[in-house]
Structures are given as structure tokens and as C-alpha cells.
Point group: C2
Chain length 336, copies 2
């Protein structure tokens, strides 16, 4: 029964499912960033005509999901599951979108690692014969995350250099057994790691050990090294977390060099003053589903290891003195 597993922690598909359609729909700041040209659509108004940012976040998620269905050339009825999660308490952006879409809903939570967890589950459900197609989506919004996790925007709290800027947007993809698009060849679900970082303003440090753990377990299970990949995408470790991650991985004998790119460190330019970089569930989702997929289509990358990371605190755990656990879920995308 475990013929589909390789090593201790990794699933390897013999007939890897494909991402047959994807859509990224981002806010204006994200559109102005270095990866702006890769996104499928930019909404110029953060509030998208809504009075409450939570309603806007929901709209980003739902619209990205609907447009991903269009890109895949299918309707809601052709999709068996809608796997979605987000940063809002009780993942309401996802559940309220599921209400409109009407597709049976599998709610997931992995904070900013939602994209790779969702895609991994989708690949397993498709490969296992439990679904014809699965729609995966996530979203985040600067204003909703700030006021839920930190402070009301109106307070204009001074940001720390290690703070990350929650990206605004929605990203979605359709996973299917047949069709055109890159294949999801491997999946490594992450363990929750906690090295005692108590500073919720330094999420990169909290997530770096999880990224290292999942990367090393993936290398070990699949007998691979950085040389086997054209790109190793982490997210959202941002500037400081990425540095820590590369240092931790180096101590274990692997040099990532130019192969490593971090979604959080790439979404904004320094001139946009994002602190350490970007975060938010849509950050690694959009870099994967826009930048990576499009560069794979061009042939620049053929084999990509995507390691989305999530910081698993909530506003109360931080107040109660808990440290911030991190998680990292990995998958491999291959052309062909």
C-alpha cells in the first residue's frame, strides 16, 4: 500500500498530476514590484470597491479561483474538490468563497505554506482516483493581516527591519491527471518545527528551521542534491530568514548558491520599503503560479523544488508568551 512513497517522508507519483490552469490576481503594490509583469491581473484598488478589507480579500480569492477554472477550460461542475485556506481566523476567505463556488470544500490551514499543502493534497486526491480535478486557492491582504495579527493600520506603528509586508492578492490552480501543464512529481509534507523564536516580528527566523527540515528530508528521501533542480523556491523567509535558511542548509553540507530564490525576498523591490520582504499566503502561491510556471513554460526552468513556509502563531499565542512554530510543505514541479 505504500508503493507511492519514497524514503520516509516523500510521495513520488508514477503518473504525476498536472497543473492545467492557474491564475494570479494581485494588488497594486504587487503589480509594481519586480515580478509584476508575471501576474495575470492587477486590481488597482486594494479595497476592490468594498468597505471592509476582509470582503476585498474574499473577492481576490474567489475571482482568482474562477479565473483559474477558465484557464483550465472547465466549470465548477468539472471539479470535485475545492481545497482552500488563508490567514483569516477560521479561514473565512476560503469558506465564503466555497459558498459561492458550490464545489465540495476541503478547508486547509498552513498559514503562508497553504499553496504547497493545497497543491500536494490535490495531487494525491487526483492521483489516487478520488477526484477528476481539484481547484486549489489561497489569498491574503495587507490590511486584514495587519489588523488581525498586529495592530490597526490607523495606528501607523513603526515597522521593524525584520517585519514582512503581507502581500495582497489571490492565486489559484487546477490540478488534473490529464491536460497541459507542469507535473507535480513529488510531495513532502512538513513537520512543525519550533526553535524557540518568540519574536512574531521575525517570522523568517521562525520558519527557517522548518524550511531546512523539509528540504533535507526531501533530498534524503529522493537521493537528490541542489544540482538536481533548476530552482529551489522558498517562501516567505524574506531577507533575514533566507540568510538563516542558507546558513542552516550549508551546515548540513548543501550549498544552494544561485539555485535559491525566496518568494518573500522577491515580490517587492527595496525601493518599495517592504522591511525584510513579503509574506502572506498569496506570496509564495503567486510567485509559484505566476513567475515559476511562466518561466517553466519558456523552458528556463525544467525542474523546480517549491518549499512554501508558514508561521503557525496566532495573535493570542504571542501574547501568551508562546514561541512561533513554523512549517514547510514541499513539492517538485517538472516540465514534460
Amino acid at each position: 500500500m505504500t508503493a507511492k512513497r519514497v524514503g520516509q517522508f516523500t510521495v513520488q507519483f508514477s503518473q504525476p498530476p498536472r497543473i492545467v490552469g492557474a491564475f494570479t490576481l494581485m494588488g497594486p503594490r504587487e503589480g509594481q514590484g519586480p515580478l509584476g509583469k508575471y501576474f495575470d491581473a492587477i486590481v488597482d484598488d486594494y479595497m476592490w470597491g468594498e468597505y471592509q478589507p476582509e470582503k476585498a480579500e474574499r473577492k481576490f480569492l474567489e475571482h482568482a479561483a474562477r479565473r483559474a477554472l477558465e484557464r483550465a477550460g472547465v466549470s465548477e461542475n468539472d471539479v470535485d474538490y475545492f481545497i482552500a485556506g488563508d490567514l483569516m481566523n477560521q479561514i473565512v476567505s476560503s469558506t465564503f468563497s466555497a459558498r459561492s463556488l458550490g464545489i465540495p470544500h476541503i478547508g486547509v490551514f498552513a498559514a503562508c505554506a497553504t499553496s504547497t499543502l493545497g497543491l500536494s493534497l490535490a495531487a494525491m486526491l487526483v492521483d489516487g482516483g478520488f477526484a477528476r480535478r481539484v481547484l486549489v486557492a489561497t489569498a491574503s491582504h495587507y490590511q486584514t493581516a495587519e489588523r488581525q495579527y498586529r495592530y490597526p493600520i490607523e495606528l501607523n506603528i513603526q515597522r521593524k527591519p525584520t517585519n514582512q509586508w503581507t502581500a495582497t492578492g489571490g492565486a489559484a490552480a487546477v490540478v488534473a491527471a490529464e491536460g497541459e501543464g507542469p507535473r507535480i512529481s513529488h510531495v513532502t509534507v512538513g513537520r512543525v518545527m519550533d526553535w524557540g523564536v518568540k519574536d512574531a516580528n521575525h517570522m523568517g527566523a521562525a520558519m527557517a528551521p522548518a524550511a531546512m527540515d523539509t528540504l533535507l528530508r526531501h533530498f534524503q528521501d529522493t537521493n537528490t542534491t541542489p544540482a538536481d533542480f533548476d530552482l529551489i523556491l522558498t517562501g516567505d523567509l524574506a531577507q533575514h530568514g533566507s540568510k538563516l535558511f542558507r546558513e542552516l542548509v550549508k551546515r548540513e553540507g548543501h550549498t544552494l548558491g544561485g539555485k535559491h530564490m525566496d518568494a518573500g525576498a522577491s515580490l517587492y523591490s527595496p525601493e518599495q520599503q517592504p522591511g525584510a520582504g513579503a509574506s502572506g499566503a498569496v506570496c509564495s502561491a503567486s510567485v509559484l503560479l505566476a513567475y515559476v510556471l511562466k518561466e517553466m513554460a519558456k523552458g528556463r526552468y525544467r525542474r523546480v523544488l517549491a518549499l512554501a513556509t508558514g508561521c503557525l502563531h496566532n495573535a493570542l499565542t504571542t501574547q501568551q508568551g508562546d514561541s512561533c512554530p513554523g512549517v514547510c510543505h514541499a513539492l517538485v514541479l517538472e516540465n514534460g
Copy 2:
């Protein structure tokens, strides 16, 4: 690729995975209720020696998970995934337990429908050959839910007749392809339904349409009627929601009669003054994994349809005037 599906929405396993070990660990009020004798352990102190109820909730979840592993006769290393979710913002009871357990973590959210969503996913991952065994767990706590969703306990707010009492406890199970225990033969993942109920103090009404929708789709997909089951367990519709549910189902031509039991309406006696009944992610989880499994082992029930329901609002959506969407995930347990 969809040979494992029957009808439009349901998965049917040809070699149904089994629940090979389960453990329920409940609070004192739950222990004193009509189902108290079915629970595997009662903790007499709601706070379990902790200063904060959130820490106690975490302990209920983690201990139930560890004891379920013991019951299944396996260790953490024999389990490939830990699927867990709870009501806390960012499901921190689950993620912090995952940190201690060290098993790769799939975080899910379906509010009080977490148990059947988690068990359904576990059954698919095991049947698909992606995992040898999967550990599924959830928990809830009266005090954490009250202060997160409603008011500080200290305010002593007058409860409404439709209010439900969040159950305190943890419940966990191990799903595997081989071993002793009832089989999960079918899975029907729910759609998010919303009939416009805006009263967050009447969750039974908000969830009843979802329970009806999933029940009818299951009946239709599998060509079954209430006569094909010894028990149809819903949860947590409680008194008023159950009445609505039976009425809605009756209008569609099905009379459930004595076959129907609701977890929320069964956990406490009227003398315990629980309002409309119990709720909380552990409510339907514990009734399923304690009462139902034990009565199945005795031979009283041979075939049970379990329909856990979840109310998908958060504290902010209610304040912002949103209605409360509901969801219901179903599975069939069979002896033999």
C-alpha cells in the same frame, strides 16, 4: 481515474480503510453527561493544571492523539500524516500538538465538522497508497471558544435558548489499511451552504441546510435510504437544529425516525442546562469515536452514516453583518 467515485459527490472504497485505534478524553461536565461512560478518560480539571484554557485545550488534543496511537499499537514513526484541526484561530491547538508529535502535519479546518473531514481525508490518503497510517485528531474547550467567538466568561452573559455549549475534550483516531476496527466505506465531502441565518447564537439553524444537502447527495450517489443505516449521526445541530434538519429532510421525502441521533443533542442531559445542546469540534468527534465505535463493537450498530456539521463564521464576520455558512462532511462506518 475516477473508478473510486460513485455518483457525483461520493467516494466509495473497494478495500475500505479501518479505524484501528481511537481515544476520547473529555472534561468533567462531559463525563457527567449521558454518554460519560463511553469516553475513554475524563480529566476532572478543565484547566488541566494550566493557567490559560488555550493551553489546556492543546493538552486535550495532544494527549488524545498519543493515547490513540497507543490504542492502535503504533508509535509516531509508524504514522505518515497527522491530520488535525480545531476551532482556535489559526488552529493553534493542532499545530502546537503537531510540534510535539513530530509527525508531518496536514492542517484542516471545518469547524465542528473537523472529525469527518479529517477521517475522510485520512481514508483517501491510506487507500490511495500515500500513507501507511494517518493519525486524526481534534479538540475543543468551553472557555477558549466562549472567549474567542463570544464574550469573556467573566461577563457571565445570559445565554439564549438556541445557544449551544462548547464541549471540552480531545478525540483522536488512527486510520490504516490493515488491522482491527470498523471500515470507512464511503466519504461525501460537503459543499458550503448558507441560507442567510445571521444569528451566530443559532448555529443549529445555520448548519441544518448543509446537513440536509450532504445527506441527500449521499443518498442519491449511493442509492440508499435511511433504511440502509442502523444509525444516522449528525452533529452538532443540537435540539433546534435537529428539528429543522428532520423537517428539511422530510420535505425531500425521507423520514429518519428513530435512526437519527444528533451528537449535540446527546452529549448533555437537560439537567445540565446546556441550552440547545452541545457543540465544539470534539462533540461529534467524541460521540463518533466513543459511543458509536463502542456500540458498533457490541454489534448494536453495523452500518452508520456520520454527518458532522460545522458553522463557518468567525467573530468578525458576525460583527460585519455576514450570515453564517455551514458545512457537513459525511462518511459511512461499517462493521466487518
